[in-house]
């Protein structure tokens, strides 16, 4: 008997262990349960506080209790924050009675660290979140990990952050409004950064002019008519020179006017096609999501890439995910290219020119547009586990509206990490000890401009990004939990084919039908159908 019980125990445990081993993505639903209770207790808490805070709303807010705010950031490169924190905390103490405790997540550890911290309801108050990290804004809001900021019963934005809210462009507030655990509302403060997506040719100007062309020749050509220029330069520079320095996925977007569908984790099988003349209008396929790789546009594009590749215009390394990035950055620096692809942000040509030591020009190919992914590109959410949501909101408001605080936390301390030169920031060597991700903090437009940017940089920035238009389906994000199995399989198939096809290193004649067949075998049709039904539901709810 004893043995039988033991064997039963053993079997169950093994099954349990096997199930537990089935990847970390499946672990998320299990973690839902504690989250829900968390939301409930959190709802109860502000309700109990409500009378107190309401009283204070008129007579200024009660901030007599000192509070420590923990703040989890992404993409930091910070080894010594003591000087900055000393100054920032003295300032914050006086303004909000707050002590700041940043957790400097890096590109390498933020995903796992922050997700775990959120799921175990650790006492972190503010989390970075966005549409492309593991603590994805839409999904985690739905699971109730982020506090609704415009809750009708406790509208934190209205109470503490109207200044912040008013300075944000409409597209940002619109992009941040989603359906979460507490209904349709705002669950994080969007950062005012390079919010538009625009794809450009990155042109090596001296080399172009050496062969008697001007920048206008590039402006007037498109991908399919670049052949002559590429041929001339290839001839002149010799066999080992590859004039086209491409990033496969970016090039594809430039040529086909496709954009990423937020929430698609498969390597972009899903695409929405925009109208290249006016992205605010519906594109060639209307308001539907298409399976990009099966489209005629994609076929035409990869055939052209193949032709360019065979003629020796594209470096074979560009079709190999392992080598593409290293090769590209090395060749950009050494100037061994004529035309590259770049996902643009304002001022990049100046930065590139300076880094590479020759004149670099950016020639826009697609219009600047704002989609859900770019509008949710960097945000700050208040955790439902936070004990001080009010103070956290006040801090976010101050951070995004106070140039002194933003510059201090982002660029470091004056005299240590940077010096002022005619009122402009010039970084010192110490900057390498304190380098948070500039765009990942919030409103960058209140930063003191750097010497390289020039005094009126942010005016240009605001007019450039202010004039960018949003696409018709802004705010939509795809939730792939219903088709999780397909998503995994499809992303493997994509990894195998897409880059090589885009760079022309494999023959589309045989590889493209093979690719499409594999997509079909792995359930692309259900996947796209699910995405479209979600999009339809979203559009209906918008009416």
């Amino acid at each position: 008997m004893k043995k039988r019980v033991l064997s039963l125990l053993l079997t169950t445990s093994m099954v349990a262990a096997m199930l537990a081993g089935c990847g970390s993505t499946q672990a998320a639903p299990a973690a839902d349960a504690p989250a829900q209770t968390e939301t409930k207790t959190e709802e109860a808490a502000p309700a109990a506080d409500a009378p107190a805070t309401e009283d204070n709303a008129e007579a200024g807010v009660d901030i007599s209790e000192p509070v420590t705010l923990k703040w989890y950031l992404e993409g930091s490169n910070v080894t010594d924050d003591s000087a900055v924190l000393e100054e920032a905390n003295a300032y914050l103490k006086e303004k909000l009675n707050v002590t700041l405790e940043p957790i400097w997540g890096t590109w390498g550890d933020f995903d796992d660290g922050a997700t775990l911290s959120i799921q175990s309801s650790e006492d972190v108050d503010i989390y970075f979140t966005c549409s492309w990290t593991k603590n994805e804004y839409n999904a985690f809001s739905k699971k109730g990990y982020f506090l609704r900021l415009d809750d009708p019963e406790n509208n934190l934005i209205e109470k503490y952050a109207s200044d912040l809210w008013n300075l944000l462009p409409d597209v940002l507030t619109q992009g941040a409004t989603i359906t979460g655990a507490d209904g349709y509302g705002v669950y994080a403060v969007p950062g005012y950064k390079d919010i538009a997506t625009q794809n450009c040719w990155d042109v090596n100007v001296p080399l172009l002019e050496k062969y008697g062309y001007t920048i206008d020749d590039i402006k007037n050509a498109d991908y399919f008519s670049l052949g002559d220029i590429l041929e001339t330069v290839k001839k002149g520079e010799g066999d080992s020179f590859y004039p086209l320095l491409i990033e496969g996925a970016v090039l594809e977007r430039m040529v086909d006017n496709t954009i990423i569908v937020t929430g698609d984790t498969t390597g972009n099988v899903l695409s929405y096609i925009i109208d290249p003349k006016d992205p605010s209008k519906e594109g060639a396929y209307g308001n539907t999501i298409i399976s990009k790789y099966e489209s005629e546009e994609f076929k035409k594009f990869v055939e052209q890439s193949r032709e360019y590749f065979l003629k020796g215009y594209i470096d074979p390394a560009m079709g190999n995910a392992e080598q593409a990035n290293d090769t590209r950055s090395a060749k950009q620096l050494s100037g061994e290219y004529l035309i590259g692809t770049q996902s643009y942000s304002l001022g990049y040509e100046l930065q590139a020119t300076q880094e590479r030591g020759f004149e670099v020009a950016m020639v826009p190919v697609t219009p600047a547009e704002i989609d859900t992914t770019s509008a949710q590109g960097a945000m700050m959410a208040i955790s439902t586990a936070s004990k001080h949501p009010d103070r956290a909101m006040m801090f976010l408001n101050l951070l995004n509206t106070d140039p002194y605080l933003m510059t201090l936390l982002n660029y470091g301390k004056e005299g240590v990490h940077y010096e002022l030169e005619d009122g402009l920031v010039k970084f010192t060597d110490k900057r390498s000890d304190y380098q948070p991700w500039t765009n990942g903090m919030g409103n960058v437009t209140i930063l003191t401009p750097t010497v390289d940017q020039g005094a009126d940089f942010w005016d240009g920035f605001k007019s450039y990004y202010g004039s960018a238009v949003s696409i018709p389906i802004i705010g939509f994000s795809f939730d792939s939990t219903a088709v999780e199995a397909q998503a995994g399989a499809l992303s493997n198939v994509c990894a195998q084919y897409s880059l090589a096809l885009e760079a022309g290193t494999i023959d589309p004649e045989t590889a493209l039908p093979e690719f499409i067949q594999k997509l079909k075998d792995n359930g692309i049709d259900e996947f796209v159908a699910e995405a479209n039904s979600q999009l339809q539901a979203f559009l209906d709810s918008q009416k």
């Binding site: 504690p34 890096t106 660290g113 966005c130 996902s343 942000s345 991700w437």
Partner: protein, 301 residues
């Protein structure tokens, strides 16, 4: 002499066995040699030719860069050494004492504690609960304890150790010690430990390996760069590169900027070499005990 002949195998069989084992050794060691070669390959040559056993151009660039990485590298090195040495000592001590208690037949709660230990080997609480207990309840975050305590008692090691006691320590020895007036601690540390040296060495090696290679625990509990061990430093670099490659389009032009400042292939391989070397040096040291452990075991049957 005759005895030896009985044990030996025929010549063809010996040749085949040796060839097979040699092939197996090669399979194990070639990837590592490859890593060493890549770490000495110039970045230019990796880019143009790819990885190769005979690189087009040799270079010390990666190692020069590693040495210039400066503080963080040495700090992580020191952390890894500290955690490995201290962790191994504490862990082996705990494991040995636990296993000794389980081994003693006159320990009343022996059954319960054996089950208690065995049970955790089969069932884990899952990541999030473990994380909460360690971090919130035990305060294991941003300190050396966080790197050591979670790996302190490995049930598998306890069972190995207990089995070793059972096969190599006769009960009569303990009785004899007791009759001679030796207290429990004295018996354990003065009589049992010297006999159990081979077993302890085996467990020490396993534990040391475990601590040296551990990066997951560091990822969970360490946020302060001060405490980062070497493995996690490497892991972070790798993750960073992977993440940026995957998301470069979302991060925007800044990504290109960050990418260019990140370590390249050869550098990562150089780090792997630096990580493997010290622990590879620990093998010969423990090997002596492990081999003698095998022989002791067989003699006593």
């Amino acid at each position: 002499m005759k005895r030896k002949l009985d044990n030996s195998v025929s010549l063809p069989a010996a040749v085949i066995i040796n060839l097979l084992l040699a092939a197996f050794c090669l399979v194990c060691i070639i990837p590592f040699i490859f890593v060493i070669i890549i770490s000495f390959t110039s970045e230019e040559s990796i880019r143009t030719v790819g990885y190769s056993f005979i690189p087009a151009e040799w270079s010390l660039e990666a190692y020069r860069y590693v040495l210039e990485l400066g503080d963080q590298l040495w700090r992580s090195y020191a952390n890894s050494f500290l955690v490995t040495i201290l962790g191994t000592f504490l862990s082996v001590l705990t494991v040995m004492m636990y296993a000794y208690a389980l081994f003693r037949k006159d320990f009343r709660y022996r059954g319960f504690f054996t089950f208690f230990c065995f049970f955790t080997m089969l069932f884990g609480g899952g990541l999030a609960p473990t994380y909460m207990v360690c971090k919130n309840l035990l305060g294991l975050s941003n300190n050396y304890a966080a790197l050591i305590v979670p790996g302190l008692l490995n049930p598998f090691h306890v069972i190995v150790m207990r089995t070793f006691f059972q096969t190599s320590v006769p009960d009569s020895l303990i009785e004899a010690a007791a009759i001679d007036g030796s207290g429990e601690y004295n018996t354990l540390f003065r009589i049992i430990v010297p006999i159990a040296k081979p077993g302890i060495a085996t467990v020490s090696l396993l534990t040391a390996l475990g601590y040296w290679n551990e990066w997951f625990i560091a990822m969970l509990y360490i946020r302060d760069a001060k405490y980062i061990p070497l493995q996690y430093l490497l892991m972070k670099m790798q993750n960073q590169v992977d993440f940026l490659v995957k998301n470069s389009a979302m991060i925007g032009a800044e990504a290109a900027n960050i990418m260019s400042s990140l370590p390249k292939d050869s550098l990562r391989m150089a780090l792997v070499v630096l990580i493997v070397l010290p622990i590879a040096c620990a093998y010969p040291f423990f090997q002596r005990y492990i081999i003698s452990g095998l022989t002791i075991g067989s003699v006593k049957g």
